[in-house]
Symmetry: C2
Subunit: 123 residues, 2 copies
């Protein structure tokens, strides 16, 4: 039972292939931090939902949860929908230390990695 958990939160899609890269990120995190619970969650079309994933972490002993929105950029999903979901989760699990990371596109090192990848692919 780990006290630390990471919940990767993606948009979801009807196409099951959508989940593949998020599954790879989950495996990489789990391989690097075997003592941390790592879960996937989705906003739409796919399960588990965010609150179900956090509940699962809490049920397995998590005290600290880092929520990672795997969205390209800030927009309605992260600025409006997600805070509502997080507020509800905080009410459901007041004992949890729940922290929300920014969007992928807020991380300069990821933007750089994307630019480098485009430059390699486009040349």
């Amino acid at each position: 039972m780990s006290r630390d958990a990471i919940v990767l939160f993606a948009h979801g899609a009807r196409d099951p292939e959508w989940a593949a890269p998020f599954g790879i990120i989950k495996e990489q995190l789990q391989a690097a931090r075997s003592e941390v619970q790592v879960e996937l969650a989705f906003q739409d079309f796919m399960t588990p939902t965010l609150d179900a994933a956090v509940a699962r972490c809490a049920a397995r002993g998590a005290e600290r949860v880092v929520l990672v929105p795997l969205f390209m950029a800030q927009g309605g999903h992260l600025k409006q929908d997600l805070p509502l979901m997080v507020g509800k989760i905080r009410q459901q699990h007041p004992q949890l230390d729940l922290r929300v990371m920014p969007a992928i596109g807020d991380a300069p090192e990821i933007l750089r990695a994307i630019s480098d990848w485009v430059l390699r692919g486009a040349s």
Copy 2:
């Protein structure tokens, strides 16, 4: 007038902040390849559309266009909507050499960069 162009294609959102990271990637690419035309395009909510961006490149002399879908993963947008758009663009610009890159989440080096960023942020 450059014969090479890169068109970054993002989902778009009602929130103008959504476009910010894509603008940064555009600037990084333009800084690295000043001789290449670099354009942004959006599927929904924001402009220009993909066909308008490609038309602009063609009007400015592009002969080769690399289209980069800045989507996290493969799903309906990239597997169904985008091929239809690309088919229409090829009909409009039969002289263009138009190549489509995979999704962000298809690039192992970007998944690794995301995992590393999560590990730094979550620790």
